[in-house]
Amino acid sequence: MKKVHEISFAQSILDIATNTALQNNANNVLNIRLRIGEYSCINLDSLQFAFSCISQGSLAEGAELITTGCLGSDTIEVESIEVDE
């Protein structure tokens, strides 16, 4: 089962990014744009660290997480991914 919640989120982000890449016949995810609400209780450093650990060996290994804050919201959303075609 999942440990601290950043790992749960990182796993979910990784799944969304790799599935989207595969559906678009891409084999490498370069970066992932995220919208993170101010009330989402996410620690961005922990999220980036968790993501770099669990993405190893996947299509999204080494992908950068680019985050945009989002006022008054608890949303966490994958906005877009950038891939190598």
Partner: protein, 214 residues
């Protein structure tokens, strides 16, 4: 290089499973309360008092979430109601999948009211829906009156707040008006001032539970 629009909610996996749990609860007429709050606020004590008061009239079940041990589950088990312990082994919150797994140990048709006692934590459990009908935050006098101000996320998603250990108000510098004002800033929530030790105020909480359940 190519940018692909995604616009997918990261919590979707959890939310999807939470909806499945919710459907299972609805099909079996089970009212589910997710009980959250800091370690030591009195979540288990509140459940013990609630079970004591209601168990002759309502069939109650409990899911206990803890990082380690089955200590709380054993306390609940002594009351005779069915209880399942989830050990999160380090995780700071319960998620919908953990609840789904725990439900395999219950016969939902034989339960009217299910309490899910979350991991003691005022931050992370707020982010994960479990499929519950109501979310309750237990806070307590010794923790200080600043908790709603410092952890607004938890109070914002709550349906009710239990302020426990009011028998200790004389011993702490706890301004109950400050506490209430800050709760109100998070939302129009009922606040139940109780002492699980002396049983003061519990009837109001029990009445609310009864009304919500209907």
């Amino acid at each position: 290089m190519k940018v692909i629009k995604v616009a997918a909610s990261v919590l979707k996996v959890n939310d999807t499973i939470a909806l499945e749990n919710q459907a299972a609860f609805r099909d079996n007429n089970v009212f589910v309360v997710n009980v959250m709050g800091s370690p030591g606020a009195g979540k288990t004590s509140l459940l013990l008092r609630t079970i004591e008061a209601l168990k002759d009239n309502i069939r109650i079940g409990v899911i206990e979430g803890d990082i380690a041990t089955s200590h709380d589950a054993e306390l609940i088990q002594a009351t005779g109601v069915p209880v399942v312990q989830i050990n999160t082994e380090g995780a700071c919150h319960l998620d919908a999948m953990m609840i789904k797994m725990a439900l395999t140990h219950f016969n939902l048709a034989e339960i009217d009211l299910l309490f899910i006692e979350n991991v003691g934590n005022l931050v992370c459990p707020a982010g994960f829906r479990l499929g519950e009908n109501a979310r309750v935050v237990v806070s307590s006098v010794p923790e200080g009156d600043d908790k709603p101000k410092k952890y607004p996320g938890m109070f914002r998603i709550a349906d009710g707040v239990v302020l426990n250990k009011i028998d200790l108000l004389h011993a702490f510098e706890f301004n109950i008006n400050t506490f209430k004002e800050d709760v109100r800033r998070a939302g129009e929530l009922p606040i139940f001032e109780v002492s699980c030790k002396t049983k003061d105020g519990l009837s109001v909480w029990l009445d609310w539970l009864g009304v919500k359940k209907k």
